[in-house]
Amino acid sequence: MKRFRRHGTESQRDRLKQELFQFTKTVEHGFPHQPSALGYSSSLQLMAIGTRSGAIKLYGAPGVEFMGLHDENAAVTQVFFMPHQVELVTLLDDNSLHMWTLRSHKGLSELLEIGRFLLTGPPGCSGGELLLLGTEGGHVFIVEVPGFRELEEMNISLDQITSCVPDDYVGRRNLEHVEALQENPINSNQVAIGYGRGLMVIWDLNHRCAIRHIPATQQLESMWWTENGSCILSSHSDGSYCCWTLRTGDKKEEEEKSNIPYGHFPCKAINKIVQLPTAGGPPFLLFSGGMPRASYGDRHCITVIYSKTQVAFDFTSRIIDFFVIRDGPHHTEPSALVVLVEEELVVIDLQTEGWPVIQTPYLVPLHSSAITCSYHVSAIPLKLWERIIAAGVVQNTQYSKKLWPITGGQNLAPDPPQRDLLLTGHEDGTVRFWDASGVCLYPLYKLSTAAVFNADADLNDNMSQSAEGEWPPFRKVGCFDPYSDDPRLGIQKIHLCKYSGYLTVAGTAGQILMLELNDEAAEQTVEAKVVDLLQGQEGFRWKGHTQLDVREEPVLFPPGFQPFTVVQCQPPAVVTALNLHSEWKLVAFGTSHGFGVYDYLQKNTVLVKCTLNPSDQLAMEGPLSRVKSIKKSLRQSFRRIRRSRVSLRKHHISNTNKVIQEANARLEAELAEMELAPVQRKIEARSSDDSFTGLVRILCFADTFLSDSSHNTPSLWAGTNGGTVFAYILYIPPVEHRADEALTAQPAKEIQLMHRAPVVGIVVLDGHGAPLPEPLETAHDLARSPDLLGSHHVLVISEEQFKVFTLPKLSSKMKLKLTAVDGSRVRRVGVAWFGSSRTEDYGESGLVFLTNQGDVHVLSLPHIKMQIRYPCIRREDVSGIASCVFTKQGQGFYLMSPSEFERFSLSTRYLVEPRCLVEAPLPPVFSNQHQPKLEGASSALRYMLSPYFPFFLQEIQKSLEGDQT
């Protein structure tokens, strides 16, 4: 009987688990890592980006995005949309072709791969379009899509071309590979084939013969057939471009002019050239590259020439590709230039005076300076939200007012139920505020902490302002700037109180800034307070970086978060733990040396505690002591070179030879040893002598029972790397005396975990077993006040196990071992609330954690029972695991690359994922179903250039050659 009943409750629990938890990776935020190809469909208004890891991402209107991944782990080299269709073709660098489509399913579109290039495609599927493939060998193959059926009879072989090349053409013996393919915009039966050596041939597909030859002699880079079909522009490797006029009747082509735009001295190649007409004016000419080799060869530029205006947009990373969006009644007016560079997407408004940049609603580079930490706040009150947005608007005046020009698809996702903020801390000392409520991670506001300190580098870089009359006319665009002036400014920890608007950020050089949101600009002096965490421990010398120099004069801070106090830890080690209690007006901070509590109302220290083990030299000296600074090592290596030169002169050559031989032998021996020595791991129990046992990992404020079970008091909890938990009772005067009466902290308890694993989380649970609410949460009636009648518990989470202790006696009540059983260790922890998908009114709190194996788990609270486990991140992806943050609603973010956040959800109730629909455009009126059509001009497959012969193309080639011989 009993057994049956228990079975019943278990299955009930299992059902409940299904209603509560569900793991999905929902959306990727940020900019794709290592993009390699760009495509655009003017009919769908969708943009596609392919990456080096084989991912393909489609973007339309904000919120409309799709993602696909090729099975092959090869880079996407080209993406192009089939004109007037929802299909797109990708070419990978393993020479395979893939067909993707957007299929509607239950009112939503999804991206599916529907085909790949197969030689033995199903015959007979006619009425498709043609795909022209140029090869390295100089042949052009014609393949019918979507079936990928090769049309053998239409192939254009190199022999057919060479046979009719004029005799006087210099390079006729070797035309080289097919560099460019371009369809005549007004006659789809004509196609221009550009060969690497420079020769361009216009081929008639119907009559299968060459119509014209354009005998350029410079190495060809790209080709552009103008809209009206009258001219062909060619760009070349010497930085020149030519315009060839095609006059009907006359067989002879005229080279209008060869133009080297940044001429006189040798220039780099013009990689791509585009010319677009405007309705009532001169055409736009756009090209990438072509810079003078010696002086500006390292710049990544796109030049736009319109009438008398010429600007060379200077990007901070390599240009992958660009396209121009055109609008107006006939979609002919160039309106925006979209440039994909290695690290960001830049869109330039071509219709507004001065060609300003349009702010992108998605694909924003998260890593414009490297992300050092992230912090998530859910359910932001509307008031604070609006104030942050207002502060951000002031910062973004330089952007164009134009609406986002890529508008394809419909975003069907419901409005997010709440406003969420994701804060990222960066290496350059900035904190960026992102709207993380929906699918688009949109930048709201940027806070810079550098102004508080005296930095060597001048703050306003003059890079953006170009001097009058400078040539080439550079203009810096884009925000990717990975170079940090001072690594000490890096942000390590962030804590924001969403109710009071207080923010605290802590950095690499032991600095803790207290900031307050102010809607007006203010000039104020930031008060600095140095806190000695060593507490008189002597005999140590800090060998790390020095502390930052706080400006003593008043500084003008723009509207937004303005610093009013800086606490500087001494020694200035990186801040490893931070917490803010805005109700008590206290901030707690910790480093590898100890922790402290600072009262930011009275501006003094309440508590300082040194946790440093006196024998822990490594923690003492600082992180840089073992690693020589770059400057130093450079200096030393130069000296070494100089010295070796001197010694070379002194010694006989035979002698030096011997020395070299000896050194080589030694090196070889070392190498051999390295290869032979296997990877070993030492098995040793943790001891109090280990390094960094005193490093403070977690600080937490709680109003709970620490001294006796009848009086709850404010308390501070600190957990260290060595498995120690310190608990302090805080005496906070009543509100009316808060400003003048002294605060005290009194040590109450100390737990030394026997297994000595680092403490990574401390959660105080109330009488109902629910986690205590955030400060001010109950004051704002947003949370149930904690139960103070039942007994409280404290859950201590170490890397190895979870333990519940009773309060105030701290006797161990429950525990769950993790590492001892499956060898994984806790890396990140969060408390989340899970709502049932079946009933609105049921929900429970859970402890979410991520292990070093990359698995996410949910534990029930307060019974710490395992609920679910899912593999989430590859265990090799250490930085991804370290970057993970959990939200209060059971979602999470982690950096899947330096520039992208992957968002995942463990909750069935709360999901943020793209839901969008793309409808197939109406077919153009002039299309003829039976007439095979060529790839559209605007997004045509320009060429197919392969560094290696594709296997299957080789096959075709053989058969082709076999037929001919």
Partner: protein
């Protein structure tokens, strides 16, 4: 721990009469046979009744055979109470004056007139001590044992290493390697974890039960198949206080021959040790994706885990509010001895009743004086020694066993 306690036989009374002798003084009192309490309480009681609160004592009793046996932990204390028939005769000695030679089998009966008189009478301080002092059984502690010989295949060996917070390092390294398994499809090469080094003088080396190139099969009853080197390392470290490794020795010649009784010596006294078992960590609901952790079938699921790491040290800082500075210094003094005391008191117990041991930080560390010195020694191990150890490392990493 009360599991071991038996209901007293009907003829014995519920109270145990105790006659305790310290020097020339006797004290008589009684104990409740059904609730004798713990050794440390008993020790306190003895100090109290003899009015020698600060004297460190060596407690011994005469058992039914007349042997003088020590009482120094809960187990032998229980045993003494249980076997008292009806009188429990105790002999107390000052620790510094203790004569260790008196303990042993038949020590009381055979040499009654010599040895026992030496105990009963005040020992002569000038008496020459025996040249070799064999320390008290208390000072012996199990270092390692071979367990579960009866249930494991003969080719395998399950070794238990007792770390117990002693200063000796576990002292071994593990590495990746490959081993050959016989499968229905023939021989198959599978990745495995192997012992790659033993640190001379370390715990693993001194036991002689583990050797370089032994393949590690399980850690505390959990198979290591499919786990990475780092995972196995973390598992071993997490279990380091009571590490049970099942190995397939590289040298198969010294295997225990089943039924021959050869393993008796190694396994003696460790019958209660195999109680360390784990309830499988089966993530509910995720079993399909994760695959449940393997539970060794023949691992007896009896008593609960006897891991000492359960017993974290909780220090209460009570009383009056103190200034920050003073507290800091207080703490740093206290931070060394931590949880050592009761480890030494309860070495082989499988008890799990008490999970947190509390000490009044402002009070004295009762009954732990002897072990304090131990601890201090351990935590201040001079580093040059370590460096030397490192240099002396025995290395044999490249051989791959089949």
């Amino acid at each position: 721990m009360n599991k071991n306690h038996r209901v007293p036989s009907s003829r014995s009374l519920s109270a145990v009469e105790v006659k305790s002798k310290f020097g020339a003084e006797f004290r008589r009192f009684s104990l409740d046979r059904s609730k004798p309490g713990r050794f440390d309480e008993f020790y306190g009681l003895l100090q109290h009744v003899h009015r020698i609160p600060n004297v460190e004592l060596l407690v011994a009793y005469a058992d039914v055979h007349g042997d003088l046996l020590p009482i120094n932990n809960d187990d032998n204390y229980l045993k003494a109470v249980k076997s008292a028939n009806p009188l429990l005769r105790l002999f107390l000695q000052r620790k510094e004056e203790a004569d260790y030679t008196t303990f042993g089998t038949d020590s009381l009966t055979r040499k009654k007139n010599t040895v026992l008189s030496a105990v009963l009478l005040r020992p002569d301080p000038n008496k020459k001590k025996p040249p070799v002092i064999i320390s008290l059984p208390k000072d012996f502690r199990p270092v390692s044992s071979i367990i579960d010989v009866d249930i494991l295949p003969e080719t395998h060996r399950r070794v238990r290493l007792y770390k117990h917070g002693q200063e000796k390092p576990l002292g071994f390294y593990i590495r990746d390697g490959s081993s050959v398994r016989v499968t229905p499809q023939g021989l198959e090469k599978v990745p495995g974890i192997f012992i790659s080094r033993l640190v001379p003088g370390g715990l693993a080396d001194s036991t002689g039960l583990l050797a370089v190139n032994d393949e590690v099969l399980e850690v505390n009853g959990i198979e290591v198949v499919g786990k990475s080197l780092d995972q196995v390392t973390d598992m071993m470290i997490a279990n380091s206080h009571n590490l049970i490794i099942t190995v397939k020795p590289a040298n198969q010649r010294n295997n225990v021959v089943r039924g021959g009784g050869g393993g008796g010596g190694a396994a003696s006294g460790s019958s209660s040790d195999s109680g360390a078992s784990y309830h499988g960590y089966v993530p509910q609901g995720a079993a399909a994706t994760a695959g449940p952790t393997h539970i060794i079938q023949n691992f007896p699921v009896g008593e609960l885990e006897s891991d000492e790491d359960d017993e974290d040290l909780v220090i209460e800082v009570g009383g009056e509010a103190e200034t920050i500075q003073r507290t800091t210094s207080n703490y740093s003094m206290l931070s060394l001895p931590r949880y050592e005391p009761h480890l030494n008191l309860r070495t082989t117990t499988a008890a799990n009743s008490c999970s947190a041991f509390s000490i009044n930080a402002n009070g004295n560390l009762r009954g732990s004086g002897g072990s304090l010195t131990n601890t201090n020694a351990s935590s201040t191990t001079p580093s040059p020694d370590r460096a030397k150890e490192r240099r002396n490392l025995e290395e044999e990493g490249t051989v791959i066993t089949l």
